[in-house]
């Protein structure tokens, strides 16, 4: 762990261009993804060349080129650190983050013609989750993970944890991508039903724990959650400024401006709790300790998250939230037949077919949260140590 990497790092402190470019690439992808959902909710017509798609592909290209450039630099024009501090695959050298970003770019490249054929063969985006979209999602995941790893390795190499800020930022994007992935299930009207909590318990503890465990700044999980909330809010505030018109029938809700995402989940609060739990966890933890922590972290997540979202969603679906800041109950897709359902919680009835919050449902959420947190503990523990 201790070696010339640090020495050189201290001597050669410079702008971390490649980390910044990869962080920018993953930001572009996340922004593009939110923009694309907005496009589908507002305009409806989709082509390869929409600006939202361009933002996603720009992010992929940026990630792939940055990764490729790092691989070329480390393989053909290495300095001392680059020669000995990279991951070698078949004789080619690059930092781990660069390799994963390249992998992500190749996956995104693979999905583009496949997706195009898919539309021609089975219809224009019948379902969001289709095989070519999963390949695309894996590619996006690769770019974001590459950005995280590049920043993590630098943060772990530098004696004073320099680069921790970029790492927390890329972690925020990582949470954001996860939130976009499950956005179909996180509408405020669904936040008094059990499925919402199960989905979030599976998705978010892993991401928050990874950040909390491996970030080298104070409150890393909470800061990453804030990055997520801030970026989502920025999209929420900016998108409705742009006039747009639906171009696909049937139009039940004649929107006049871009439909933004809903107000972000209040992940900051459970993240604070989890940061507190992991504050003095120490460098190396055995599997047993990880399990013990996960049992606590799962409970912390479920309890704080339930309390926060339960109350906040009551506010969000009320008239009180109908302002530019919270935009509660304000923006609905052009295809929505607006009626009183907007002001109610959905699927809250019990019994078969219902999705009420029961002890059993919360038990399932807890188990999911524990498993998710455990994976976060194991992965985050490794992320603490990666230096290449």
């Amino acid at each position: 762990m201790v070696s010339e990497g640090r020495v050189l790092g201290r001597a050669g402190r410079r702008w971390p261009i490649s980390e910044l470019l990869l962080a920018l690439g993953s930001t572009s992808i996340a922004v593009g993804a939110i923009w694309d959902i907005s496009w589908h909710s507002t305009i409806g017509r989709d082509s390869f060349w929409t600006p939202a798609h361009m933002a996603i592909y720009l992010g992929g290209t940026l990630g792939g080129l940055t990764g490729g450039w790092l691989a070329i630099k480390h393989t053909f024009f290495p300095g001392q650190r680059e020669r000995t501090g990279a991951i070698s695959i078949l004789g080619a050298r690059a930092p781990l983050g660069a390799w994963i970003a390249i992998w992500g770019a190749v996956a995104m490249l693979t999905s583009a013609p496949f997706d195009n054929w898919w539309h021609n063969a089975y219809g224009l985006d019948v379902k969001i989750i289709s095989p070519p979209h999963v390949v695309l999602a894996l590619g996006i995941f690769g770019i974001c993970l590459g950005a995280m790893l590049l920043a993590a390795a630098r943060q772990n190499r530098e004696p004073d944890g320099a680069g921790g800020g970029i790492y927390v930022y890329t972690g925020g994007i990582f949470i954001l991508i996860g939130a976009i992935f499950v956005s179909e299930y996180t509408t405020p009207n669904l936040q008094h039903a059990a499925f919402f909590y199960k989905v979030c318990a599976a998705m978010f503890p892993l991401r928050l724990v990874v950040m909390s465990r491996s970030g080298r700044t104070g409150w890393p999980g909470a800061k990453a959650a804030l990055v997520y909330m801030f970026l989502e809010c920025v999209m929420l505030w900016i998108l409705p400024l742009f006039p747009a018109q639906p171009r696909l029938a049937p139009i039940f809700n004649p929107v006049t401006h871009m439909v933004p995402p809903v107000f972000p989940l209040l992940l900051f609060f459970p993240a604070m709790g989890m940061d507190l739990v992991l504050r003095r966890a120490g460098e190396n933890l055995g599997f047993r300790k990880c399990v013990t922590y996960s049992l606590v972290l799962g409970a912390v997540f479920v309890l704080i998250f339930l309390a926060a979202q339960w109350l906040f969603s009551v506010f969000l679906i009320s008239h009180g939230a109908d302002d530019w800041f919270f935009a509660g109950n304000r923006f609905w897709s052009y295809g929505a037949r607006l009626s009183d359902w907007r002001w109610t919680f959905w699927n809250t009835e019990g019994g078969p077919g219902g999705d009420a919050i029961t002890i059993r449902a919360m038990g399932v959420s807890y188990v999911l949260a524990v498993v998710s947190a455990l994976l976060g503990m194991l992965w985050g523990g490794w992320m603490r140590k990666v230096v290449r």
Binding site: M1, V2, S3, E4, G5, L8, G44, R45, Q80, R81, T84, G85, A86, I87, S88, I89, L90, L96, W99, I100, W103, V106, A107, L109, T110, P113, F114, W117, H119, N120, A121, Y122, G123, L124, D125, V126, S130, P131, V134, R157, Q245, P246, R247, L248, A249, P250, I251, F252, W382, K385, V386, V387, R388
Partner: protein
């Protein structure tokens, strides 16, 4: 693919088989009996216009529309798909047609058809001679399975192989070297760790790949179940003799429709069903009949005196629930007529028509100037440009004259100057044509009513197809101007012009029906399409 065989070879072989099946997949089902594209010819406002709508093979999909306007000055063309089940007020603004470079008054654009069902494509023209619009009905259904191009399949195999192997190599490298400080080489323990991590990752990736493949296969199956490419719904045919009549009974949708589905139909030219019987083999006999409902989904019709033999049967209908039009098909053996005593119970439809001719009477497909001569010397001439090409204007323009060569005045037959049937000789293509186009007039009436009702303009307008005037009266009260203009364009004179493009290469037979001197005639032509 072979490179992946170190892990789960059987699985990758299944991927190879699956991809191979996709490559080799033919068009398994034919569009609306092989002829999905829709053509319109007639007046829109003051402008004589020809519209071609090329339908997508999937839903949701994009249709391509082109509009050719006969006008000296430039006009503005716009189009808008209206969905049968949603209010027109919920439609987006129309799209303006983009002029095709190098052409005059020829416009093109895309139509986004997002749902299965019936759409009325509203075409609007705005020019110095005034405005006009027309609704052209199309049926949006998944038609066929698009094969995966070889290059794309090959590229997918290479790239996915790269992702699987590359992913495993990256994880192996990360596990081996990731935690080592610069300058420290991986020891035996780390190399072992890398190997294990790489192998496990490879196994996971191959597992995911197989899962993805199965997922793809299940999407493929679901798509095929939705596909309405061929004939629909199912049709059972039986014949029976009652008194001196031979009766053909048909039951529709025993399998494809729910038992409680009442099969409500919109009459087209005043008839619920248009049935074409075409004798197999030399196809020297044809009948165009109009069955009436017996009960539920069962219909019956008196058979005209047709020679015995096996007949292909095509049955056109338009559903009232959605205004979608479909063609059902099957074949039936028509026996030698047996006459017996008794009272006939079923009235033949006065608009039923049939023809029986010698095979030698059909003009040769090679003739540029194809002439069909009736027994009384009347003639139908098809002057055509050979060779006939797929997806090119077929030039179905027929001149009718008497034995002396004088033009014959045509009368409307079921409201049209002509009804024509086109069949590819193998039966995979069948289309029912009119001078105004090859769409269902009943479905057009449905959309015209919808526009009139929802815009509040034409309160007095009745459904066109249900009007008594449709059966032969040139003056049709209740029709809107667009419709009248279309009719007038086609009426009078001795020339029949049918807008159509042959959808695929092959040998076709065309039956052109018209009425003159109170009698329906059927001329027959062959066409070889390249």
């Amino acid at each position: 693919v072979g490179r992946l065989d170190e892990e789960g070879g059987a699985m990758t072989r299944r991927l190879a088989v699956f991809l191979a099946v996709l490559f080799l997949m033919p068009l398994v089902a034919q569009a609306h009996l092989g002829s999905p594209d829709v053509f319109f010819e007639g007046k829109i406002g003051a402008y004589l216009t020809r519209v071609t709508i090329r339908m997508p093979t999937v839903v949701p999909g994009r249709a391509e529309i082109s509009v050719n306007v006969e006008a000296a000055e430039a006009v503005t063309v716009s189009f808008l798909p209206l969905y049968s089940r949603t209010a027109i007020s919920n439609a987006p603004p129309p799209d303006v047609g983009v002029p095709i470079r190098g052409e005059t008054n020829y416009y093109a654009g895309d139509l986004w058809l997002m749902t299965s069902g019936a759409y009325g494509i509203q075409v609007n023209i705005h020019g110095s001679q005034g405005d006009g619009s027309v609704e052209i009905p199309v049926t949006s259904v998944a038609l066929s399975q698009l094969p995966l191009p070889r290059w794309l399949g090959g590229m997918l195999v290479v790239l996915i192989g790269l992702l699987v192997l590359g992913g495993a190599a990256i994880v192996a490298g990360a596990a081996r070297d990731g935690e080592l400080a610069a300058g420290v080489s991986a020891g035996k323990r780390n190399r072992r760790k890398g190997l294990i991590a790489g192998t496990v990752t490879l196994a996971i990736l191959v597992f995911l790949l197989v899962g993805g493949m199965r997922w793809w296969a299940s999407e493929e199956r679901a798509f095929r179940e939705r596909m309405r490419g061929g004939a629909w719904p199912d049709m059972r045919l039986t014949t029976r003799t009652e008194a001196s009549q031979q009766i053909l009974e048909l039951t529709l949708g025993e399998h494809d429709l729910r038992p409680d589905d009442p099969l409500s139909l919109i009459p087209d030219h005043g008839k619920l069903l248009h049935l074409f019987l075409i004798r197999d083999g030399e196809a020297t006999a044809i009948a165009h009949l109009h069955p009436v409902r017996k009960e539920g989904k069962t219909f019956q019709v008196v058979l005209p005196p047709l020679p015995e033999g096996r007949y292909r049967v095509f049955c056109d209908m338009t559903l009232a629930s959605s205004s979608m039009s479909f063609t059902a098909t099957n074949s039936v053996q028509i026996p030698v007529p047996v006459k017996s005593m008794g009272t006939n119970s079923l009235e033949p439809d006065p608009d039923d028509s049939w023809a029986n001719y010698a095979a030698a009477a059909v003009p040769l497909a090679e003739a540029t100037n194809a002439v069909f001569t009736f027994a009384d010397g009347r003639r139908v001439v098809w002057k055509r440009q050979l060779p006939l090409q797929t997806k090119q204007e077929a030039g179905l323009r027929f001149e009718v004259s008497d034995a002396a060569g004088n033009a014959v005045s045509l009368e409307p037959y079921m409201g049209m100057m002509s009804h024509a049937a086109v069949m590819r000789r193998d039966g995979t293509v069948f289309a029912h044509l009119h001078p105004s186009g090859n769409y269902s007039m009943a479905a057009q009436g449905y959309f015209m009513d919808k526009v009139a009702q929802e815009s509040g303009a034409g309160v007095q307008m009745a459904s066109m197809a249900g009007m008594p005037g449709m059966n032969g009266m040139p003056d049709m009260p209740g029709m809107d101007h667009a419709q009248m203009a279309q009719m007038h364009h086609a009426m009078g004179g001795s020339v029949i012009s049918l807008p159509y493009e042959f959808p695929s290469a092959g040998d076709y037979r065309i039956w052109v029906q018209f009425k003159t001197g109170g009698e329906v005639r059927t001329a027959v032509f062959d066409a070889e399409v390249q």
